[in-house]
């Protein structure tokens, strides 16, 4: 328990430091944040009023403290572009990203783990000779390019799936949850998830295979054979169970990095998630929104790093007991 607390505090510390770095990065970047509001007609008075309104006349340090205070209360400022609180805009987009990322990861990992275990069991066969380069190829392909190919073929050519967005245009829903749990949403979800899954499965596949190969050479596997246990029992209940530990950790880490990396997939499929929000905000010089989206993504990343840390320590009984001693 003490260990968990100390790692948690550490994670919060990292989050705070990263947040600070980002804050200063955004503030110190060249380019005026007010470019969206100012044109030739804006008078000097109006400009100064704008500057005061956005707190840009205060010292950098003061801005920082205000930012911190607000952030801790959940207020991430106002979006220049949307003229709405950043928190609101971000929270609208967040569920879409979460659903996309989790679905993609789950599909990728289930496939990867099974395929990896299979390749390990069939070591030295032709399947392996093709399987590994193929897995490497999927890791070598840009996510967005995979998306492009999927779109071109399954959407434009075959017409099986819509070409983007999360919902068909023109449909109205009462609330967020209703919107998500529809067939229409699912229909829009499939191609992006597939794209993500194809890209992500390489890692669990290769990791699982590599772990399994090592584990299958361990003494306790030989013992299982001597006990006369069946292949399926040995591979699934013993070998895979041991080989899974690093994969579970990778899964947690995967959530963290995929959230940020999703940017491209969301853009290709016009998926209304945080990644796309960030890209648009940056393009439009919408500082508060860009910063807010960035912060949320960072928070998820740091949180997932922490979870991965915990997963590794809790799943392995050897380390669990060592930590508590």
């Amino acid at each position: 328990m003490k260990y968990v607390m100390s790692r948690l505090l550490y994670a919060i510390l990292v989050l705070w430091i990263v947040g600070t770095i980002l804050f200063f990065m955004f503030r110190l970047m060249p380019g005026s944040p007010l470019a969206a509001f100012i044109d030739q007609t804006t008078t000097l008075e109006q400009q100064q009023a704008l500057i005061a309104r956005f707190g840009l006349d205060k010292s950098l340090f003061q801005q920082y403290t205000i930012f911190l205070q607000n952030a801790l209360q959940g207020d991430l400022g106002q979006s220049f572009f949307h003229r709405r609180p950043v928190t609101e805009v971000v929270m609208e987009a967040l569920p879409n990203t979460v659903i996309l990322t989790l679905s993609g990861l789950v599909v990728a990992y289930i496939f990867g783990v099974l395929a990896g275990a299979y390749l390990a069991w069939r070591r030295g066969s032709a399947v392996e000779g093709i399987g590994i380069p193929l897995a490497l190829a999927t890791r070598a392909a840009p996510e967005f390019w995979l998306g492009m190919v999927m779109l071109a073929f399954f959407s434009f050519h075959l017409g099986w799936f819509p070409a983007g967005g999360a919902n068909s245009v023109g449909l109205e829903y009462d609330n967020e949850w209703r919107r998500i749990f529809t067939v229409d949403y699912l229909h829009h979800l499939i191609l992006p998830v597939l794209t993500l899954a194809i890209y992500l499965q390489g890692l669990p596949l290769l990791l699982m295979r590599s772990n399994m190969i090592e584990i299958l050479q361990e003494e306790f596997i030989t013992m299982s054979k001597m006990k006369g246990l069946g292949s399926r029992t040995i591979v699934l209940n013993h070998a895979a169970r041991n080989a899974m530990l690093p994969v579970a950790t990778a899964f947690a880490l995967g959530i963290g990095s995929a959230i940020g990396g999703n940017v491209v997939v969301e853009t290709i499929f016009s998926w209304p998630g945080i990644g796309r929000l960030l890209v648009n905000a940056v393009s439009a010089s919408d500082y508060p929104l860009a910063q807010g989206a960035f912060m949320i993504i960072t928070a998820v990343l740091v949180a997932m790093n922490f979870v991965a840390d915990m997963t590794y320590h809790l799943l392995d009984p050897r380390i669990r007991h060592a930590a508590s001693n």
């Binding site: 003494e219 306790f220 001597m226 246990l229 041991n242 530990l245 009984p317």
Partner: protein
């Protein structure tokens, strides 16, 4: 005769060629008796005994011989038939239980697994049987819920014994079961093991490199060197009248478990030969202080007692060799490096 091994040969395929790890060994294990197989590491004993369960690494293969268990040659059985024998008739006690037990499963669950999957036990009965087994080997029942790394070395070996006896096998193969433990614990575990062996009339093949363990628990002993059996017979006979130069050397190299004699240690210099291309004649030739010209020829098995055999050219001079061997100086400088 429960187990009768005849001229067993096992080969390893390596990048450099074929290694003749076990080169024609024959020995018997009567019902209810403990047969010790003793030899240096690399002499082939572990390969030989693991092959009794027909579980071998992919690079190993049988190159001849028979393994007769209860009358039938298990080398001729199909995989399915062989699997029926595993653990139910022939069980295995590993050297290092730390590596031999699944680290993420509770120890009790691993025993229950064998009981339910191979013994036809129902879950509840299996639990009871597991508790029974732990009690037999002197372990607390609450330990069933622990993981392997939470056990001490001695406890782990006891758990291995419990696991091996789970399905009441007729033959147990113990591969260096106490080597990794310290001397006092060794004795305790061996005592427990002996007691159970006698109680259940278990036949045992016990592999070790420590001849004092053989003296402590075995009825018969088989001495292996470089893939061959150089001497075999009842423990009493072999230890009181070792009739092969190697056995004589071994005896001098180890302190005795049961006796309190002060014996000077004189290890045998050098190492065993390569088994890629085994040397001609007696394989112990290069390290033997008693080697002669005749030793360059392939030795023949000689009977030196009622059930006692030796593969030494000079077996008939054993008494002389034993006398000379008491002087540690005889063993020094044999190997000119």
């Amino acid at each position: 005769m429960l187990l009768s091994v005849k001229d067993l040969k096992i080969q390893y395929k390596t990048r450099k060629g074929i290694v003749h790890a076990v080169d024609g060994i024959s020995f018997d294990v009567p019902e209810g008796k403990v047969v010790g197989i003793v030899g240096e590491s690399g002499c082939g004993k572990t390969t030989a005994v693991r092959s009794l369960l027909r579980v071998m690494p992919p690079v190993a293969s049988y190159a001849g011989g028979e393994i007769n268990f209860d009358g039938s040659d298990i080398l001729k059985l199909s995989e399915r038939e062989m699997n029926k024998l595993r653990w139910r008739d022939i069980a295995y006690i590993p050297q290092s239980a730390m590596n031999a037990l699944d680290p993420v499963w509770r120890v009790g669950d691993q025993i229950i697994e064998v009981l339910t999957k191979r013994g036809g036990f129902k879950k509840a009965k299996a639990k009871l049987r597991a508790e029974e087994l732990f009690e037999m080997v002197g372990l607390e029942q609450k330990r069933l819920r622990d993981y392997p790394h939470q056990f001490s070395g001695g406890m782990r070996q006891r758990a291995s014994i419990a696991l091996a006896l789970a399905l009441s096998p007729r033959l147990a193969i113990a591969d260096e079961p106490v080597t990794a433990l310290d001397v006092i614990i060794q004795r305790q575990v061996l005592d427990t093991f002996s007691r159970l062996q006698r109680e259940f009339g278990l036949s045992v093949v016990l592999v070790t490199h420590d001849i004092s363990v053989v003296a402590y628990v075995c009825d018969y002993v088989v001495v292996m060197y470089a893939g061959k059996i150089v001497e075999k017979g009842p423990v009493k006979d072999v230890l009181s009248s070792p009739s092969h130069a190697y056995t004589i050397g071994l005896y001098n190299a180890f302190p005795e478990l049961s006796a309190d004699e002060e014996r000077e240690l004189s290890p045998i210099e050098g190492g065993p030969p390569q088994l890629l291309n085994p040397p001609e004649g007696c394989r112990f030739r290069d390290r033997c202080p008693f080697a002669q010209e005749i030793c360059k020829q392939e030795p023949v098995e000689v009977q030196v007692g009622p059930e006692h055999f030796s593969l030494c050219h000079r077996a008939h001079e054993a008494a002389e060799m034993r006398e000379k061997a008491r002087d540690p100086a005889v063993w020094r400088g044999v190997v000119t490096a």
